[in-house]
């Protein structure tokens, strides 16, 4: 067998210079400021949460009643021993903020997993099968949308008793609606494409078809929704904890820290501004990352 060297058999110059899809994706990612900033800050917060047991200067539960309400270092009376100050019980605010990241990320991620599985299963089923299945699932989604999330979550958490597990389960079973809605319409689009028809003609079982033809092609959209839903769950947890019906004290949740500090905010505004801005930064960078992933993976439907 001889290797052909004739010019028309060799790849043309444009084809060699054409970057691979992966390289294109990377190139777009590095040019997208939202993606870089969002990803960077998120990585920092995740790192902060993971290294909290090693790097936090104090135990977040340790009360020191002689050191109550020390202001953060940007105030004149701040001390380097407590860079972000202390709260009403003299607990170190930096340590509590770091551990608070653990609570928010943990809840955001697990709620997203639960609601993602429920919503995706319903959305893909409705979009693929259509007809009666679609009608029933659409009705379930409509019903779920009519139920006020915060109110129902508050009532159920109050009746069962607040704890991190309860908050995760309640939110997970409540906020699957966006997954279902988006997955339904995405699957409807893919369902009519030729390769799905080809797989059907080849005698693929429905289960296999959903798993190997449909799912891999909705993954991009799924990642975007999942990112945005983490942010949604983080905000909801903070609101529930703020109202006293989420994560229970003395756990360092950012929403709870704002709730505990609000009685003192007039004279010691940092007790609410530090956890508040932490929450804001986390949600903002998750949203930036989500929008970034959408722009990078599907730049054609940016508008």
């Amino acid at each position: 067998m001889s290797i052909s060297t004739s010019p028309d058999k060799l790849p043309r110059a444009e084809e060699i210079l054409e970057p691979s899809p992966g390289a294109l994706l990377r190139r777009r990612a590095f040019k997208h400021y939202g993606f870089i900033i969002g990803g960077g800050v998120l990585a920092f917060i995740v790192l902060m949460a993971l290294t909290a047991p090693l790097l936090a200067p104090y135990d977040p539960y340790d009360q020191e009643l002689t050191e109550r309400f020390i202001p953060p270092i940007w105030h004149a009376k701040g001390e380097w021993a407590h860079p972000l100050g202390t709260d009403f019980y003299g607990r170190d605010y930096l340590s509590r903020t770091m551990y608070g990241a653990q609570v928010s990320l943990m809840i955001g991620f697990t709620v997203m997993l639960i609601s993602g599985v429920i919503g995706t299963a319903m959305g893909v089923a409705a979009g693929y099968f259509g007809g009666r299945v679609d009608m029933v699932i659409t009705f379930i989604i409509t019903t779920r949308l009519a139920m006020p999330v915060i109110l129902v979550a508050l009532v159920v958490v109050a009746l069962i008793g607040g704890s991190m597990e309860v908050v995760i389960l309640v939110l997970g079973f409540l906020i699957w609606d966006r997954f279902a809605v988006v997955m339904r319409s995405t699957t409807q689009q893919i369902r009519n494409l030729d390769y799905v028809a080809a797989a059907e003609a080849a005698g693929c079982s429905v289960f296999r078809l959903l798993l190997t033809e449909i799912l891999p092609n909705v993954v991009n959209v799924l990642i975007v929704v999942a990112t945005l839903e983490i942010a949604h769950a983080v905000l909801l947890e903070a609101a529930l904890s703020f109202l006293g019906l989420g994560v229970q004290p003395p756990t360092p949740s950012w929403g709870l820290m704002i709730s505990e500090g609000k009685g003192h905010m007039f004279f010691k505004p940092w007790v609410i501004s530090i956890p508040g801005f932490a929450l804001f930064a986390l949600v903002l960078c998750i949203n930036l990352l989500g929008d970034g992933i959408r722009d990078i993976t599907a730049p054609e439907n940016r508008n």
């Binding site: 009705f139 409509t142 019903t143 949308l145 009519a146 139920m147 006020p148 999330v149 915060i150 109110l151 129902v152 508050l154 009532v155 159920v156 109050a158 009746l159 069962i160 942010a231 905000l235 903070a238 609101a239 703020f242 109202l243 019906l245 929403g255 704002i258 609000k262 905010m265 007039f266 505004p269 609410i272 501004s273 508040g276 929450l279 804001f280 949600v283 903002l284 949203n287 930036l288 929008d291 508008n303």
Partner: protein, 305 residues
């Protein structure tokens, strides 16, 4: 049009019944209403008495049927804490929440529609980017934290506006901003997308070609069509706001349905919680129904499908 409206109305009723069924079951399964009503110091016999007296010992379907037939006649039970009919109390508190929701929506529309139009007029420029950034920042700000900042700045530092109560319209300004800004990103994006689509269409080119002034083209021809999706989105957002007003009402001590819900949760006032969840759901269903009908009226294409 009549057929569409009737069909849509039947659907709304069906959703309402399902929501009531789900809420009822969810509340009964989450906790023991008898134990909650009897209080913490109650003995086993007390709880047993309450259970018998209110019929909590009967099977769930029987309980639901009894509750539903009464509810249809406007009787949602009595509040064990306030010793008055639940429906009466909810009706007293509803106007505050509805005023708050309407003001919040108004604020959101006034802020987001101009932003959306501006962004669509100059897509992918500094104006557009700024509007999108404002939307992103708005989405990330926790509403309760934003409310507290508003209190600190406008209530305490500048002493411009009252921060608690619902006596005058001034009392509604800060809560409306705190509640409404969360809806602005969504409305802004939809306005922008709608405007972009409409501005690229043929009849806008015709309007420009026949020499109409740009503001006339923009507002009389383009915005009118671009705004149709905003109608239904506004209804949905208003529904969400009524549900989310619990946080804002709690912070600003507004005596509306949200605050009542929070108090009822603290007092384990079972019938009250149930009625409130259902009332808010009812508002949402009614709003989306009205929006759909209005949409079908504005855009005949919807009716046919």
């Amino acid at each position: 049009m009549l057929f569409y409206t009737l069909k849509r109305f039947g659907m709304a009723l069906l959703v309402l019944v399902t929501v009531s069924l789900v809420t009822f079951t969810l509340l009964r399964l989450s906790g023991d209403p008898a134990a909650a009503m009897a209080g913490e110091s109650a003995t086993e016999e007390d709880i047993e008495y309450v259970r018998k007296h209110f019929g909590f010992d009967k099977p769930l379907p029987v309980q639901y049927w009894a509750w539903a037939t009464k509810a249809l006649q406007g009787d949602f039970g009595r509040s064990v804490y306030l010793k008055r009919p639940v429906a009466q109390i909810v009706a007293e508190k509803a106007p505050v929440t509805m005023t708050l929701g309407a003001c919040a929506l108004l604020f959101a529309l006034v802020l987001s529609i101009p932003l959306g139009v501006l962004a669509a007029m100059r897509p992918n420029t500094i104006t557009d980017r700024t509007a999108l950034t404002i939307a992103l920042i708005g989405q990330a700000f926790p509403s309760f934290f934003f409310a507290l900042i508003l209190i600190l700045v406008f209530g305490v530092k500048l002493r411009m506006l009252p921060i608690t109560g619902s006596d005058t319209w001034l009392h509604f300004i800060l809560p409306s901003i705190a509640l409404g800004y969360y809806a602005t990103p969504a409305i802004m994006r939809v306005t922008r997308a709608g405007m972009l689509e409409v501005l690229g269409s043929d009849y806008i080119r015709t309007a420009k070609a026949k020499g109409l002034r740009p503001p006339v083209v923009l507002f009389k021809h383009a915005l009118r069509n671009a705004i149709i999706p905003v109608v239904s989105l506004s209804a949905v957002q208003l529904g969400f706001m009524l549900g989310g007003s619990i946080v804002i009402e709690q912070i600003f001590s507004l005596h509306g349905i949200g605050r009542l819900a929070w108090q009822s949760i603290q007092r384990s006032d079972f019938e009250m919680m149930q009625a409130i969840v259902l009332t808010v759901a009812c508002f949402y269903i009614a709003l989306t129904f009205l929006a759909d009908v209005l949409n079908a009226f504005l855009d005949p294409k919807i009716r046919v499908h």
